[in-house]
Amino acid sequence: MKDLTDQILELIRRTSTDLPEDVEAALRAAYEREDEGSAARGALETILRNVALARENATPICQDTGTLLFYVHYPEGMSTRKLRRMIQEAVIRATERNYLRPNSVNAITGKNTGNNTGDEYYPAIHFEEVDADQPLVIDLMLKGGGCENVGAQYKLPDNRLGAGRDLEGVRKVVLDAVAQAQGRGCAPGVLGVAVGGDRGSSFLASKETLLTRIGEPNPDPTLEALEDTITEQANQLGIGPMGFGGKTTVLDTRIAGLHRLPASYFVSVSYMCWAYRRRKMIVDGDQVRYE
């Protein structure tokens, strides 16, 4: 199979240094909404200037280049071992070129590996097989530590919040997660929510909801309505950009439903910061394109 290391390196460069169009548009709309002269508007102005500057200079939008989350859809017959090696090599080169900060720390010894490789979980690479005639698609998300740290998992019922095992309960705990996060997840953020699953699959699915564009409708109209309600009510909390107070706390909400054990009802919230770095690479024969 063809060596794609350089193309994956380019995927990493684009992801780290150039924010997707839909995210930038949402931030611009938020800037317009905030009051003239407010700290919230000032913060969003700085954010938008930073986004333009990062794109111009091909420097990281945020110094925390985050957890590397690769989602690979590979055609039947392609070697995942080879793909993994290419991805790891591209990550090492991207670190040398300062598209990525050396971010992989051995949790036991405290030693930073210096090149963003670590173990089978780091960088995180998820493989999914598709039909042989389909293109190879690699999605990459960079998720900063600040926003990862404010993620939360709830087990319903939650008596403290009066949240039962239904969508009304889901609404309550997700709003609580936003209030707990305050500005610390680098608001305004995007919420990825999974309902159901086990603790592990629930968090995984909550992150996968973040792979779609802002504003893309949920195929389930009930969940679509709940997403809109949560976004609107989260903004009523008034936390605002950076937690300075203001009208925009959350840019968008996505919800996925999973199957669960009768005994368990988990709600997992992954908070994505405004520096919502997400890119896609599509390899169709000799053609490589990026979205």
């Binding site: 945020c62 709003l175 500005g183 950076m242």
Partner: protein, 208 residues
């Protein structure tokens, strides 16, 4: 916008109020999780004896912190091979992780300002009143823009902590920040959080 050059005197600190935007210039150091723990264990609580270049590093950072500021930042740095360092991306990291240490570290060195993001808690707010000092909130994620404010990397200590955790000595010009905790006991974070909690209580009551 108000411009302040480091080091900062008490009168200037007392004149700053939560909500004030400020442009900072001068020489400062970065320090985050590993640095705060190292300072606390080795020089404040003294639960660990100084080792290697600890004393030398301590003497070097002491004058920089006296009347100076510490920046919670783990930068992306170019020139690691040559030693000709340049900041590529240098936004703030979340400050609350330093809450157990920050107040004592401020008192120990006479630190006048802490730069970070997300604000800090009651212990640090108390130290801001005593030292006196303020908390400067930088814009989280604005890493390329802030890196452009870094005129020069003066030096680095404790590079063995790793690039993000090392102590970088930098000279900045017009670094944009907002005072969110002042020396009079005001915290914008406490205000925003209190209002959000009140609103949340309403939203938890009402069914959709």
């Amino acid at each position: 916008m108000r411009k302040i050059t480091l080091p900062i005197d008490d009168e200037t600190i007392r004149s700053l109020k939560a909500g004030d935007p400020v442009l900072l210039s001068g020489v400062m150091i970065t320090g985050r999780d590993a640095v705060h723990k190292w300072i606390t264990d080795t020089f404040i609580k003294k639960t660990r004896a100084p080792q290697g270049d600890d004393l030398e590093t301590y003497e070097a950072i002491k004058p920089l912190l006296d009347g100076g500021v510490i920046y919670h930042c783990g930068p992306v740095v170019a020139g690691l091979e040559s030693g000709d360092y340049r900041f590529v991306a240098a936004g703030p990291t979340t400050s609350i992780r330093e809450e157990p240490y920050q107040g004592d570290v401020m008192r120990h060195f006479n630190i006048k300002g802490v730069i970070g993001k997300g604000g800090m808690g009651a212990k640090t707010l108390q130290a801001c009143q005593e030292v006196p000092a303020v908390y400067f909130h930088a814009i989280g994620g604005a890493a390329s823009l802030i890196a452009q404010c870094v005129q020069r990397v003066v030096g680095v200590y404790k590079l063995d902590f790793g690039v993000p955790e090392a102590i970088w000595v930098i000279e900045v010009k017009d670094f944009p920040v907002v005072v969110t905790m002042d020396s009079h006991g005001n915290s914008l974070h406490q205000e925003v959080e209190a209002r959000a909690r009140e609103k949340l209580a309403d939203l938890l009551q009402s069914a959709v």
